[in-house]
């Protein structure tokens, strides 16, 4: 088993929590795992990416290269588009349909790419695209978009729902555990 998962989004959307949950679960199940993440300036609303590499063999480089991602989990549509070159042939995409306008678009300097939907659909081996923000709000908070998407992508990951619940309990602040569990379960049904 070898899975390369790229989690992409906008700084502040919580890509880190998603990767930490995934990483801890992989460790518990006896896989080797490496993660690479972004701290610093980009966290202020810039584009952010977290690499998660899980394998029953040794993981060397913590980075997923172009063409190596088995799964891309995108918290925002433009970010899904931006990171497409990293998707492996036949790779799966989980995309939040939400659009967050970057400042150059708001200022009218460039346009939000209208062709994004079409190119994402054409490139993905399989595409699951839905409004994760709406699902998160239903689950109790717009901040839970990250865990909703993780729930959705869990179908392609070798862990049971029970294992996911445990890792959420162990890694999320107690007062947010129920919210995140609900978000995960609803995401898994999306």
């Amino acid at each position: 088993m070898k899975k390369n998962i790229l989690i992409v989004g906008v700084g502040g959307q919580g890509t880190l929590l998603a990767s930490v949950l995934l990483g801890n679960l992989a460790l518990e199940k006896g896989y080797d795992v490496k993660l690479s993440e972004v701290h610093g300036m980009s966290q202020r609303g810039g584009d952010v990416v977290t690499h998660v590499k899980i394998s029953d063999d040794n993981v060397s480089s913590p980075l997923i290269e172009k063409g190596e991602a088995d799964i891309i989990i995108a918290f925002e549509k433009l970010e899904a588009y931006r990171w497409l070159p990293f998707l492996a042939e036949g790779g799966v995409m989980y995309v939040n349909e939400q659009q967050i306008m970057p400042m150059p678009v708001t200022l009218g300097q460039v346009e939000y790419p209208s062709e994004a939907d079409e190119i994402i659909a054409k490139t993905a081996g399989r595409l699951v695209s839905f409004d994760a923000l709406a699902v998160a709000e239903q689950a109790g908070s717009s901040k839970a978009v990250n865990v909703v998407l993780l729930g959705a992508a869990s179908k392609d990951l070798p862990f049971t729902e029970e294992e996911w619940m445990k890792v959420i309990e162990a890694n999320v602040k107690p007062k947010f555990v129920e919210l995140n569990k609900a978000a995960f379960v609803q995401g898994a049904r999306a």
């Binding site: 990767s19 795992v33 490496k34 913590p62 172009k66 433009l78 042939e89 400042m103």
Partner: protein, 586 residues
């Protein structure tokens, strides 16, 4: 127990297990989480944020003299600030073990340059360690303290973005409590006056030669710290750190000499390795630090910087391409032009206190000598309100020089954050007083060190562990330096702020304006979201503050309700009073 750890957490764990007692650092991406992790330890360690790296290294050196194992961490440019104590401590050697951790940033993820700290290490004459994954971060830290005490030397631990900010599995160990080593007066060793310094330099050369000779026997985590992985002898690679991981990924068949101690280089061992392989390659990010030394030792190098760039980060694909190996096949159609997708530059947060100031400076078309912090982002559209940014505290000196060159300080200001001012702005301001400047310095007092993830500082009223601590009074401090015109203002009072900036920049005397409002990431302020009502005449004044939650929808400004924190800045700049707080909650 095995745990997933960030490289920086693993460094911290290693220091803790090695019995470190004193830690003094200044934050800087990508190094910050090492010291941050140590603040969560108990009383067995004294951990503090120093006002800058120079002080941090001096404190750590003092602690090592006092006989404790000590640590100071910093980003690459921080070592420039600390270079003065570093280069001489490198002569003195240690009493308790001393490790200085420096994190480079190839690829400039969060930095102003791609400075290569290996040169600092070599030039100062200290051994430099470089781990390649989180487990090694921990193991090398422990080995570094042992080596520091055994060979009587400061050790430089070199990290980088991909080492510090990658996570991997780490096996935890126990802490080894160490008695403080009694201090013995020894001015020949600890007073670097010329007569002593000359001898100390000779001693330093000797111990470096000894370390290079002993390298084969030095271990970390039970493994040789420099190791040879003999595979196919056709290709032999000399490498270290994160590049080792890329090499393993791209060239699994190659033979590899992986260095853990990268300076002094184990040249005899490299020569032996070179003799066993057909072609020797050197793979290192940045300048040809290894390559030039290997060539100078008379060892033929088949490929180095003639194959690889000195800019940016490497990757497995970069190595594959250089060796003519096919890269993984991507799903994306080769003709798709994704590069044309709009960029997503970082922005000041919704509700950021700095926004009010830069809205005004942008409006007044002021020439702004900038500095380093979240507020540097104001250089980007829509405010475009920063003219230059050099180094921590640099804004003040630049403003002074600019005035002396042009003969005027009208509509000219220096801006710098509270943490940056305390780091290295005070001396610049003193210089302005002393040399009779007439300029205006604006201190952006958001009560925290924002950019690096909200560390406390001497102005914030809390220490590294979050306990109450004395807070410097900025007004009194600048007054004591001799500044006569000091004004404090809330940067969200944009009208008042504008008047003050006009008045103070016109004045033929030096002034300081302190814009005081806490960072929203620490206040976690939430208010009623604002909406743009039908009164809106589409003048787009509100877009000029650069709030990330104001977008344009159907040709008109629109506030994304889920992200608006209700700070009210947009309603203050709207000339038609069209922006209101909505009554119903979210």
């Amino acid at each position: 127990m095995k745990r997933i750890m960030l490289g920086n957490e693993a460094f911290a764990r290693g220091a803790w297990e090695a019995g470190v007692r004193v830690v003094s650092s200044y934050p800087g991406t990508p190094s910050t989480e090492v010291t941050e992790a140590l603040t969560k330890c108990g009383d067995e360690i004294h951990v503090e944020w120093a006002p800058n790296e120079k002080v941090g290294v001096e404190v750590a050196f003092g602690a090592c003299l006092g006989g404790a194992r000590a640590l100071s961490t910093m980003k690459h440019v921080g070592l420039n600030v600390a270079a003065d104590p570093f280069y001489t401590a490198a002569y003195n050697g240690v009493n308790g073990g001393l490790v200085l951790l420096v994190a480079d940033d190839n690829g400039c993820h969060s930095s102003q340059n791609e400075q290569d700290s290996r040169f600092h290490g070599r030039s100062a004459g200290v051994p430099v360690f470089e781990p390649s994954d989180p487990q090694e971060c921990k193991d090398f830290m422990i080995a570094a303290y042992d080596l520091s005490e055994k060979y009587d030397t400061v050790v430089l631990m070199k990290s980088g973005t991909r080492i510090s900010h990658s996570r991997g599995i780490v096996e935890e160990g126990e802490r080894e409590e160490r008695e403080v080593i009694p201090y013995e007066k020894n001015f020949q060793k600890y007073v670097s006056m010329p007569a002593m310094a000359r001898k100390l330099h000779v001693a330093q050369e000797k111990r470096l030669a000894q370390i290079a000779e002993d390298a084969k026997a030095i271990t970390a985590g039970g493994q040789p710290i420099n190791r040879v992985e003999m595979n196919d002898p056709k290709i032999g690679i000399v490498t270290s750190g994160i590049c080792y991981q890329y090499v393993r990924e791209a060239l699994p068949q190659a033979s590899v000499f992986k260095m853990g101690i990268i300076s002094p280089m184990p040249m005899a061992d490299i020569a032996e390795f070179a003799s066993k392989v057909e072609k020797l390659y050197v793979i290192e990010e940045g300048l040809p630090f290894f390559e030039e030394q290997i060539r100078a030792a008379g060892i033929p190098v088949h490929g180095g910087k003639d194959m690889f760039t000195i800019q940016g980060e490497y990757s497995a694909n970069l190595i594959r391409e250089a060796f003519g190996i096919s890269v993984p096949k991507a799903a994306l159609d080769e003709n798709a032009d994704i590069a044309a997708a709009p960029g997503r530059p970082p922005l000041l947060c919704a509700g950021c206190p700095h926004k009010g100031l830069f809205y005004v400076l942008s409006k007044l078309k002021t020439t702004v000598m900038g500095d380093i912090g979240c507020y540097t982002l104001a250089a980007l559209p829509p405010t475009n309100a920063i003219d230059t940014c050099l180094c921590m505290g640099g804004s003040i000196g630049m403003e002074h020089g600019f005035e002396k060159a042009t003969g005027s300080s009208k509509n000219l200001v220096a801006v710098l954050g509270d943490s940056t001012f305390l780091h290295s702005g005070i001396t610049g301001l003193l210089n302005m007083v002393y040399n009779e400047a007439t300029g205006t310095v604006i201190i952006l007092d958001n009560r925290i060190t924002g950019m690096t993830g909200h560390q406390q500082n001497p102005g914030s009223g809390k220490n590294a562990k979050g306990e109450t601590a004395p807070a410097v009074n900025f007004e009194e401090l600048v007054t004591a330096l001799g500044v006569k015109n000091v004004t404090v203002v809330d940067p969200f009072e944009v009208k008042e702020l504008e008047e003050i900036i006009r008045r103070e920049t016109e004045r033929d005397e030096l002034s300081v304006i302190i814009t005081r409002r806490p960072c929203v990431m620490i206040t976690k302020q939430t208010g009623t979201p604002n909406v743009i009502t039908d009164e809106c005449r589409n003048c787009r004044q509100c877009l000029k503050i650069g709030c990330p939650t104001i977008e344009v929808k159907d040709g008109k400004p629109f506030i994304v309700q889920t992200n608006c924190i209700g700070c009210g800045l947009c309603s203050r700049v709207c000339p038609f009073d069209a922006i209101k707080a909505v009554k119903e909650g979210r």
